[in-house]
Assembly symmetry: D2
Homo-oligomer: 346 residues x 4
Amino acid sequence: MSSIKIAVIGASGYTGADLVRLAVRHPDIEIAALTANTHAGKPVAEVFPHLAGLDLPDLVRNEDVDWSGIDAAFCGLPHGTSQEVIATLPEHIRIIDMSADFRLRDTQTYAQWYGHEHLAPELQKTAVYGLTELYREAIADARLVACPGCYPTAVLLLLAPLVKAGVLVADDLVIDAKSGVSGAGRSLKQNILFCEAGEGLSPYAIGTHRHAPEIEQELSLAAGRPLVTTFTPHLAPMSRGELITAYARIADGASVEAVRAVLEEAYAAEPFVHLMASGTTPATQHVRGSNHCRLAVFEGRVPGRVILISTLDNLVKGSSGQAIQNFNVMFGLAEIAGLEQLALFP
Amino acid sequence: MSSIKIAVIGASGYTGADLVRLAVRHPDIEIAALTANTHAGKPVAEVFPHLAGLDLPDLVRNEDVDWSGIDAAFCGLPHGTSQEVIATLPEHIRIIDMSADFRLRDTQTYAQWYGHEHLAPELQKTAVYGLTELYREAIADARLVACPGCYPTAVLLLLAPLVKAGVLVADDLVIDAKSGVSGAGRSLKQNILFCEAGEGLSPYAIGTHRHAPEIEQELSLAAGRPLVTTFTPHLAPMSRGELITAYARIADGASVEAVRAVLEEAYAAEPFVHLMASGTTPATQHVRGSNHCRLAVFEGRVPGRVILISTLDNLVKGSSGQAIQNFNVMFGLAEIAGLEQLALFP
Amino acid sequence: MSSIKIAVIGASGYTGADLVRLAVRHPDIEIAALTANTHAGKPVAEVFPHLAGLDLPDLVRNEDVDWSGIDAAFCGLPHGTSQEVIATLPEHIRIIDMSADFRLRDTQTYAQWYGHEHLAPELQKTAVYGLTELYREAIADARLVACPGCYPTAVLLLLAPLVKAGVLVADDLVIDAKSGVSGAGRSLKQNILFCEAGEGLSPYAIGTHRHAPEIEQELSLAAGRPLVTTFTPHLAPMSRGELITAYARIADGASVEAVRAVLEEAYAAEPFVHLMASGTTPATQHVRGSNHCRLAVFEGRVPGRVILISTLDNLVKGSSGQAIQNFNVMFGLAEIAGLEQLALFP
Amino acid sequence: MSSIKIAVIGASGYTGADLVRLAVRHPDIEIAALTANTHAGKPVAEVFPHLAGLDLPDLVRNEDVDWSGIDAAFCGLPHGTSQEVIATLPEHIRIIDMSADFRLRDTQTYAQWYGHEHLAPELQKTAVYGLTELYREAIADARLVACPGCYPTAVLLLLAPLVKAGVLVADDLVIDAKSGVSGAGRSLKQNILFCEAGEGLSPYAIGTHRHAPEIEQELSLAAGRPLVTTFTPHLAPMSRGELITAYARIADGASVEAVRAVLEEAYAAEPFVHLMASGTTPATQHVRGSNHCRLAVFEGRVPGRVILISTLDNLVKGSSGQAIQNFNVMFGLAEIAGLEQLALFP
């Protein structure tokens, strides 16, 4: 197959850079344009020295891209900006958006959580939620795929099949999430300075994190009724990695074994989602840099309780890797193309 | 007051070293003996270079201590060994044990969780559980104080008053705990190597951690009936610090405000336990090296749910600092004596 | 003695915060004012949560301090601003400046390295260079003490006595320096984000670091002739700590033993500077949070070469601790007053 | 080309694991056997969870490998053991040894630095020193390639061409080296525990590190006369990465430009060694996980001094990646085969 030409819009953030890392080695991708308005004119290596020596196009402004020969755009812009820019793209461009802009199906909910009216509500109606394992068929035909947030990816791969199968009491799920610092992006904020985030751990945005409505949207769809969840993210002193510890009650008639069986069946044929052997504990460092997500199920001491674990690299399976995976589905490529990097450990 | 002479039994672990760090600057303590069987004969600074230049006695074997002039012993030995050694101490020695050996009031429970019969069951009957804020009066009169584990300290300071006050549905508490690596001690284990624990996060001992029965023992006492909890510890890539995120339902008739009020009242006069202002988030790095514990209460998105946070330094308030605090109570000293170090940040 | 009232000017940086940490527990200090123009009106704990609960004055603007009852000012402002503010202080205020503004004795050199004319050249003439161990007598009588930079402190404690004693070939000293990230301050810069500085090490400002002329000024004074040095700083992924590895040739007639002897004699009576036993290696983590500096001397494989090591905590002995030490000297207090904190390890 | 069958001897260390990470995705390699005597019988994923799901052979004992169908062996055993095991391999096996056993050309020097007589002195004579860029032709024909140590790789890529070209005063080179903790391997040692190595930096093995004779051997060959160097390694709190800061005097008649020109020419056509643009600073985090080495040249403040920087990932270009590179040369493959992974940043 001849190469598919892509643009990466917003290539100066961590998500954009990791997309480039993966795309450069993708057998069917040619990177035709990289945009970063504040760094326009610079070589990529000036912004990300680890990407030196790759014969990449220099960074340009979004509006300076010649879209005529380009097939697809990956968008790594901040929310708000993404919808504006995406709305201007020519019709022939297929879009994989890694921002939050098209994740919420209901533009009212968007306005409520993001503080402004949605600027492309018609486009929103056409967006497909890009959790590959759940929406593979719709993704294949979509023009615009809204890749899930990193937390929702980890949470939904773990909980959506279980909620759908009815093996959990879904009305009172407790989701304790831990993330590495790269989840906060590359913008200059005091709390992500080395001296502030290092050697420390803290919860944040308790009850107010914007990934909560996204998680609830999808779990509600899985349940067939509206669900609200308890979702508490924490910032951990590592660059990459995300770990979800979810607490649920097993539904009447179900069992820990039934819970395991649902996940086993859901992911038996999946290349990137793995249920770990009983008693084995996942760790973020064992999926670092890879597109893999590992799940585990543990019986609790409280009868009827189950403890559910999910882990992934927030920048890969939680963002850029999943974006490539969706791209592969959209263009009829092998789903693992360009995603075979093994985890980097230690 | 003339100095109280102490021995530190098991001074070559992190707990012992942090006890020494605090005791050296305690206005009423004289360190008379330091033991460490495998390092007997060495100066402390050879085992802990940060303790050089302090005019401390060299390390000796447990059996080589002359107990005649000593008033109190802090014991930082591993469980199992502690009870053996403590059983041999002269009657006039008051003991602050930082091991797990005398924490469980029921020796059957001990045998079940620690895998061997308790070796000093009579001594166990005399032990007082050393959570200072809850058992101050009994501690004052005790000969043997069993300092709580680091997780139980953080959990119980947060939950015990609430369970006792009946403002939570206590039968189904979910406790998600995160700890720095020093909680695992200084012994040579692969999972605590820098390259293994660094830049990664993982749960461990799900449903099987030995601090669970200790937590349940005390929460059951607070509730007046047997409670079982869901307790999941995680290892985080930092040396010190512990953070508890607990999830509970508010009891009928209670409210988030009532929950806050209980903690506010419980700790209004306490020097080391602080309820943070509403909306303020605690972080482990802000109590690092200090004897302080910070608590916070958040309302969840799920009606009736409350999210409760507790944080402390596992080696200080979670171990050696609390031991000194108990010592102060036992000897009628100001409770803050020797514990006024501020947190070291960054 | 009744308390000495101090103000901390520029209390919202790491240097200011660490000064507060030490001053709060200093037996002879009362903190009368804390300034931070961009945070004026806030309680300190809002800017530095680890300093909560200490009954400190709120942050005010520099110009809003009532200096009438104040005896001394510690200044933690950025260079340039410091000299402006210090020039306005009433004559009765004794000043311990932790900025770079009065370190260079020659205002021409200042202008060359800091890019602007010195704004208080007359004041500069009165400043005493605040390396306590070298200039103790002059510091005692000074109104304005210019505390050395963190690198110069570590370098000069190591090399100045040796250069003065003539045991090294001083014309070609190689100084390889490694610092934790807190040395870069709390301002928002991309290279000190957790994800940028974490898990990585790099040199910076090779041949252009502003601590070079300061080092050379003092070594030249020690040598009695102008010296130029090779000074290469590196950023290491830790919050605190500084380590100098200096390479020198031993002067004709001298020896490794002579080198050791000079340091031994220079620091035999010093409370905070320690020559380590032969063969023992210093480590930054063993002085973390303390005011101690550790030195070591090693013979190299190349005949006539000596490898010299110096380590300290850049925020304490390299800044705030040394400032307190100078304050103690200036006010006739015990030099160790308020500086007895032991290193926090691990 | 049909696959080349390899065995990895000593697959339970970090070097072995990183070799497996690279070999699994190498287009021309089939992993036929993995050995690890202490873990024989286990699946790899039990020892290295990040290598799960790869359809790898289980770990076996060295003596249980059926060598008949195998073409090449990578050896990641500790020194001493390597030479014993390698001596027993069938003649048709080509060997890429990542241990220290065959690096020193002179077995007397080996005995002196490693504390025992060399056990395979005849084999030693046939070994080629595996610094690919310097010895590519000899490597192509070798049966046994001794891959350099991580420090020597970084040092020699930087200094060997310069010494050979005569642009440096080679008799008094100062080499200050900093390494991540993975360089110390996966064995259980106290100094590499997270709590010991984290948030700290220290020199070690000053004047006694076993990589010194290896560096001197090769620099002496480049110089055409015996050289001794000053080599000081430091342990930095990161898992991967190595940075060399070398200090040299420029030879009479040469210049900083001449130094740059030598490196530019030496590596113009090299895929993995890069001289950075003037004024640009290398950082370990920008080559993490990749096989790249970055060099830089800086003029010092002392006339005639040059500061030379080299950085690489100690486990990749410093060990397993270079081993694969040598394998590619030995088997006539493209030298970059299996080594195209980009650096993982952040």
